[in-house]
Subunit: 327 residues, 2 copies
């Protein structure tokens, strides 16, 4: 089922993906070999290019198809890669996209500065659009994301987090970038305010759903599927919705056991499996899945103001895929 | 002499400095208290506001005086602060502007992310100018600076560095930002290409002179004057021009002793004093001072295309001050 949706999506975007890859290569122009090496390590390690695809098809759904949308879309992959590089340092995760995280191969400062370089690259392409509105969107994305990451960092190891606080964190760290990609597509296409606003909302709901699905996968997928070890959030002291809900619903004894697991960074496979059972038992998985589905539904509803087109169909499929995917 | 120049400059910019301080406060709008705290720690710890002043008076010398130049000028202080935050993490320096470096008070990741936030703030103000040309200048600054820092990092601990390599490093890490501030002033004022180009060159030479003076001060000033311990460059394995020249001119025995000092991170006050004597003996200090003076001279010559005005006088004084200052 899922892999069927995935292959349908891929068959529709094969050409775009090829062009996006070439545009990423062409626009990465560091003066230093080391910057290219670090940037390439992450950029060309099999990302899904979700953000560029969303941008390209948001623009096309609004009638834009000059071809520049491909180059423009790389902004969102460069921004994404920049934040991943800074996050890798922050999270101290060892594996990313199935490869060693950049900071395990290079000293953290070099990784930070390469992130800065990718941010500058994104900015440079944005400036070439000559659209101050787009620059403002990108400035806002960068500001929100940095604050979202600090917020998450501050909350690390907390054993209580409300659903509202969780939502604020994932909005900032994930949804604003996906939202910005969709919104920028509409701006680039000089779409009406109604359509800009519809794509902004579509991107927001898709981004929230996408992150919730990610947080579910961190408990439910295998290491092979994830390209990194499951349970990373828990090991890093990040409370996500499945666990937040389970903690709320659990009886005293189980809640206290779960809190012990959050605090115990050396916890093992067996206790992780037991924790997963708790997440099912106390409806953490079920509730998070339903919330993610709700946001997918909301996202798709936002597309109602557009007339039918191949890009609109693709954006509908991408919304479904955000929660159906296994990686 | 120096302090006389300083007080003459200050008497001319008191009003501007007050307005710049208010604009920095007003434009720093984080959602998180912690971001504000980290950003304020650095931003309001007594910087000279050289970059905003250069921007403001470049614009005014080109006839601009809508008042927006003050808010606009904060871009260059925010950018500067963002890079200082990232550099502090990179350099692992403990003291900055006489205060504890941010990363000694907060974990490095928070400092990195606050740097990102300040970058976003700069970008946001730049976008409000609606000038794609300015955005391109800023994107270029960010890209060059990140590469300059990596380049410097790569060269750490090297005991040979050519003057040309040194120049490339300081151009990127210091001159491009100062150059960008001056150039943006001309762009904001919609000045002629001739004037834009003159201010770009002025900024470049001033930036190079400023960094050379900084590199001299790191050997010659006291801890009180610097707001940090002298000899920081040597301790961090950074070869700067005074030492590069001395190494070239030294006899075999002294060169070999100096190389030992570069490699020996635990070297003491006595050996530092002896090293300084070598820098004098082998003309490292003299040559660097002359080069700095040469760039100040070049910078001032660039101002010839402008007719006399208070802003032009100030830019001349700032050029002199770049090398005469003790801090």
């Amino acid at each position: 089922m899922t892999s069927d949706l995935k292959s349908r999506i891929i068959s529709r975007v094969t050409d775009d993906l090829e062009k996006i890859e070439s545009a990423l290569e062409a626009n990465l122009k560091p003066n230093l070999a080391l910057v290219k090496e670090i940037a390439s390590h992450l950029l060309f390690s099999g990302g899904k290019r979700l953000r560029p695809l969303l941008m390209v098809h948001s623009a096309r759904m609004c009638g834009y198809n000059s071809g520049f949308e491909i180059e423009f879309s790389t902004i969102f992959e460069f921004l994404h890669a920049a934040t991943l590089l800074h996050d890798d340092v922050v999270d101290e995760a060892d594996v990313r996209r199935g490869k060693a995280a950049a900071h395990t191969k290079w000293a953290a400062p070099k990784v930070v500065l390469t992130g800065d370089f990718l941010l500058a690259t994104a900015l440079d392409i944005a400036a070439r659009t000559q659209s101050p509105e787009i620059i403002l969107v990108i400035a806002n994305i960068t500001g929100q994301m940095s604050q979202g990451e600090i917020d998450q960092l501050e909350k690390r190891g907390q054993t209580t987090l409300s659903e509202a606080q969780y939502l604020t964190v994932i909005e900032r760290k994930t949804a604003v970038l996906i939202q910005g990609a969709c919104q920028s597509g509409a701006i680039l296409a000089k779409a009406s305010q109604e359509k800009r606003s519809a794509l902004k909302d579509y991107g927001f709901h898709l981004g929230v759903a996408f992150q919730m699905a990610d947080d579910l996968l961190d408990y439910m997928a295998t290491a092979d599927e994830l390209g990194k070890n499951p349970g990373a959030d828990l090991r890093e002291g990040k409370l996500t919705l499945p666990l937040i809900v389970a903690l709320e619903n659990a009886d005293e004894k189980d809640r206290s056991w779960m809190i012990d697991q959050i605090r115990d960074k050396g916890f093992n496979t067996k206790s992780f499996e037991h924790l997963k059972e708790m997440l099912y038992k106390y409806k953490g998985i079920e509730y998070t899945s339903k919330q993610a589905q709700y946001h997918v539904h909301q996202a798709k509803e936002c597309l109602d103001v557009f007339k039918d087109s191949p890009s609109r169909e693709l954006l509908q499929m991408l919304a479904d895929y955000a929660v159906e995917r296994r990686v």
